[in-house]
């Protein structure tokens, strides 16, 4: 029997949520307890994504939840969307990654840069989970610097021909459609980057599972190769224009990550607290020792700060005033905070902390990926540095 999660809410943040935001959180929380947690360890150990959960996640509205109802989405506000990510990542970062990519990196660019016809054609199928999507920006030689990419799209009479390779692509092998970013002009011209909707069964498109991952094991991470992949004119996202467009997608996904990792931290804190109260050493519960109390107090403090940070970020996003730099601050702070919580929880658990039966180490190693993807911690430091000084350290 899965034990139920009661949340970590020291500052009554729930009282700052609307009734429907609380209801959304309750649904996802219950689903994670009842459906995800009972199967996650097996998938994690076997290195498989729990595909069997996709239909219900879709039916409940977890995919692209902040996009409008007219395209089959739930039409939620951004705080409710954030709460979905938080609860999913309380379960596992891999499942949250799946939802982030589907919603923030596949459905969002179609919504933001697509024609009305493209939106009607693709969004309902992506919302219903009938179709899985992936987002190809990173390349083997261009990670933190995606503007340097060498994947190209050349216009022909009837459409476009794409050539290149994409690396570290979440959902890559199970996707039916890929959003591929490619240069339509000179290879040193980042302004010529455009987005393309590419069905993965197009001849010349291959995906290969990334083997040997020690992190995000319950997530599909793949390498994509595009060799003379020919698509029609309607594959181009007409409003995509330059590197700014994929970066706008990343802002969406990073926003979700900033929320999501708080969930992972909450799971680790909750586990550490329960364990500490029940594990007796030197004749008393280890939670009664000052050193462990400091661990717990630090975790609780950082989680509480992070919760308030993302809530305000969400309110600004709903108001239309949120800036990408504010998202960088939240992604940077919260992922780092979650990594620390996971590490301290793992240590508090002693030897049991290295077992898959406990969640802390799974979260700990998952979060190392989250620390790196969607702009490494370092890159967000530089983005903030540039924002406050006006001096770019990387361009």
């Amino acid at each position: 029997m899965a034990s139920r999660f009661d949340g970590v809410d020291f500052y009554d943040v729930a009282s700052l949520l609307s009734e429907d935001e609380r209801a959304v959180q309750a649904t996802v929380r219950q689903w994670v307890d009842e459906k995800l947690l009972p199967v996650i360890n097996r998938h994690y150990v076997e290195g498989t994504f729990p595909k069997e959960l996709i239909p219900e996640m879709a039916q409940l509205g977890f995919l692209g939840a902040n996009l409008p109802e007219q395209y089959g989405c739930a039409g939620l506000g951004n705080v409710a969307y954030g709460l979905i990510m938080q609860e999913l990542e309380r379960g596992d970062s891999g499942i949250r990654s799946f939802a982030s990519v589907q919603g923030g990196l596949v459905m969002y660019p179609i919504f933001a840069f697509g024609s009305e016809e493209q939106k009607r054609r693709w969004l309902p199928k992506l919302a219903s989970g009938e179709l899985i999507g992936c987002f190809g920006l990173t390349e083997p030689d261009f990670g933190s610097n995606p503007g340097g990419m060498i994947t190209t799209a050349r216009e022909t009479g009837g459409g476009w021909v794409l050539n290149g390779a994409k690396m570290w692509i979440t959902n890559g092998s199970m996707a039916g459609v890929a959003i591929i970013w490619a240069k339509t002009g000179a290879v040193d011209d980042a302004r010529s980057i455009r987005g393309f909707i590419v069905p993965t069964d197009t001849p010349g498109f291959t995906a290969k599972d990334q083997k040997g991952k020690l992190s995000l094991r319950a997530s599909d991470t793949s390498e994509l190769v595009l060799q003379d992949v020919t698509v029609g004119k309607d594959a181009l996202l007409p409003a995509s224009q330059g590197l700014k467009s994929p970066l706008m997608c990343l802002t969406q996904a990073r926003y979700g990550i900033a929320w999501g990792v708080v969930g992972a931290a909450m799971a680790c804190y909750d586990e550490a607290l329960r364990y500490g109260k029940q594990r007796v050493m030197f004749g008393r519960p280890i939670a009664g020792f000052q050193l462990q109390q400091q661990r717990l107090a630090d975790m609780l403090t950082e989680i509480t700060k992070a919760q308030l940070l993302v809530l305000q970020l969400g309110r600004m996003k709903d108001a239309g005033t949120m800036t990408p730099e504010q998202v960088s601050l939240a992604k940077r702070n919260n992922v780092d905070m979650a990594c620390e919580c996971a590490r301290e929880a793992r240590r508090l658990l002693g030897a049991n902390g290295i077992l898959v039966e406990y969640a802390a180490m799974r979260h700990l190693v998952n979060l190392e990926s989250v620390y790196t993807y969607e702009g490494t911690h370092d890159m967000h430091t530089l983005i903030l540095g540039e924002a406050v000084t006006g001096l770019s350290a990387f361009e």
Partner: protein
């Protein structure tokens, strides 16, 4: 098919309850409230019946404070069509008063079926359903774990000590739902958004002078620490002696 489901807002069953300063009520500070778990089965059953019939209406009725509206939204998010809140500052301890208020609301509603949960997680009275049925002059089947409806008749299964009782009844009827009846659905996110627009009618209710009151509320005594009487087969005689003489269970 027109179905009413009477639902109650109760403290989350996993909340640690504290007794309030007055000594006769639970301290609500920091307590999370939920839709009574058995009522979820009743709501789900109503929704499935309506879906099967292809037409009809599911009305949820709650008696309680304004805050019960949030509980009601859970049922609306699951798919109920509208709600009626019989607004009272507090839910009377005299459950007959609750049944009377519900019966008055249900009487002229033209319902084919009135559903309750078999028990409320907070007061465990198991009485409001049957009392309401009595006041309405309708047949009542409690603790239903399987239900078949056909035309104006129904067959319900009840799990009783050591077996199953099968009961036939005529509609309209009042049923109380047990677990096993169905698997309640999650309120989907679209349902949650749709629930915001569904109508909830608020009707203040008043009660006659109470005929009973809660005199005291006590926490269960703290459990005594366990005792290890020995190890291996050698411990058996002592264990048997204690079970016989001290625990008096043998």
């Amino acid at each position: 098919m027109k179905i009413a489901v009477c639902i109650k807002r109760v403290p989350d069953t996993e909340t640690r309850i504290r007794i309030a300063a007055d000594g006769v009520s639970a301290d609500e500070a920091g307590v999370k409230f939920i839709l009574n778990p058995y009522d979820e089965f009743a709501v789900e059953e109503a929704l499935q019946r309506k879906e099967k019939a292809g037409a009809g209406e599911v009305v949820v009725i709650a008696l309680g404070p304004d805050a019960a509206q949030e509980t009601m939204r859970t049922a609306l998010a699951m798919g109920a069509d509208r709600g009626v809140l019989l607004r009272a500052d507090a839910i009377p301890a005299d459950v007959l008063a609750v049944a009377k208020a519900l019966a008055a609301e249900l009487k002229d509603g033209g319902y084919d079926l009135v559903l309750f949960g078999k028990i409320a997680a907070d007061d465990c009275a198991q009485a409001v359903g049957p009392m309401t049925a009595e006041l309405l002059g309708l047949p009542c089947v409690t603790a239903v774990s399987k239900l078949e409806l056909d035309g104006g008749k129904g067959v319900a299964h009840r799990e009783i000590e050591g077996g199953v009782e099968v009961v036939e009844f005529a509609l309209p009827a009042v049923l109380t739902a047990d677990k096993g009846l169905n698997t309640p659905r999650y309120p989907a996110l679209k349902g949650i958004m749709a629930a915001k627009k569904k109508p909830v009618e608020v009707k203040p209710v008043t009660f006659a002078a109470p005929r009973l009151r809660v005199a005291a509320l006590e926490m269960p005594p703290a459990r005594k620490e366990g005792r290890i009487v020995g190890e291996g087969p050698d411990a058996v005689p002592e264990l048997v002696r204690l079970l016989r003489e001290e625990a008096k269970v043998l």
